[in-house]
Amino acid sequence: MNDTFHTPHTKTPFLVGPLEKMINWARKNSLWPAQFGLACCAIEMMSTAASVPDMSRFGMEVFRASPRQGDVLIVAGRVSQKMAPVLVTVYEQMLFPKWVVAMGDCASCGGVYNNYAIVQGVDKLIPVDIYVAGCPPTPWALLDGLLLLQKKIAHERPLEKNS
């Protein structure tokens, strides 16, 4: 046992940094996706959360079923006319801060289908941050998109008004 006592006041290390950077660092490393798997891209999203591509090394394995607990809405699959109001309701139920990743060609721009039944791109309904191309995108492409989202979050200004 040491004779000089170390108290929290004497030896605790301090972490000094800009507040915005701290907030961004906390937000980007624990993004919880809200589950919105619709079609084939959902299967690749499930593969991304499985053991080989492993999304949890980036802090994102916790797929929350309830949108109120989610941060990122990964729209995986084609959005049909009947599903469009459901998508907007789920997006509005999410709490700020929230981001949207349009995964796959169908969510980005309508994909292979261009007809009466499919909404040509999810950005006609909700604001999208990242588009991931592919039909379906490989799990590593989705991870690339999510890492790009993390870089985007790192550059945000959360303390500015109207940001």
Binding site: Q81, N114, N115, Y116, A117, Q120
Partner: protein, 177 residues
């Protein structure tokens, strides 16, 4: 040794109901008059031995030429002799078609789908409403006079926007229709 299901085509009422019998690629199609449709289906299910006890598929095809007709197609399957039989009947788009929900309960959703996509109304259906399109959709999409409703694709460098059907295939309408 599977016994084959024999339909006696010599019976009077069957002869008068049958408009055409087509044997193509090993499949038999019976084109019947619309008034005798339910009688033929009931006969195949209940009176023929062994019976065509499963209705595998119920769908429709819309023809604009030479007349505006909707052909309802029933695909029957015989579980004992493993034979298949296709029965078709033509209806006007505004007519009421008799429903086969009493014979096969599972036909309910298939008839709803035909109503949704072709606008064909079924008599005695328990719950006829749209199934795949939104409830307030106007129009019946799989009819031939309903457009595909494509959105035009925009290009860079001031190229005029085009709809995909014009880009990816040669216009053959004038040649074949």
């Amino acid at each position: 040794m599977k016994t084959k299901a024999e339909i006696d085509f010599e019976k009077e009422w069957i002869k008068s109901a049958l408009l055409e019998k087509i044997d193509f690629l090993g499949e038999t199609t019976l084109h019947v008059k619309k008034e005798d449709l339910v009688r033929v289906l009931t006969h195949c299910k209940e009176e023929v031995e062994p019976s065509y006890d499963v209705l595998m598929d119920l769908t429709a095809v819309h023809y604009l030429m030479p007349k505006d007709l909707i052909t309802i197609v029933y695909l029957l399957h015989n579980t004992t002799s493993l034979e298949r039989l296709r029965i078709t009947a033509c209806f006007d788009p505004t007519e009421f078609v008799p429903s086969v929900v009493d014979l096969w309960e599972g036909a309910a959703w298939y008839e709803r789908e035909v109503y949704d996509f072709f606008g064909v109304r079924f008599v005695n259906h328990p719950d006829l409403k749209r199934i795949l399109m939104p409830d307030d959709w106007i129009g019946h999409p799989l009819r031939k006079d309903y457009p595909l409703t494509e959105e035009s694709v925009e290009f860079k460098h001031n190229v005029t926007p085009k709809i995909p059907s014009e880009i990816i295939r040669v216009k053959w309408d004038q040649k074949y229709h």
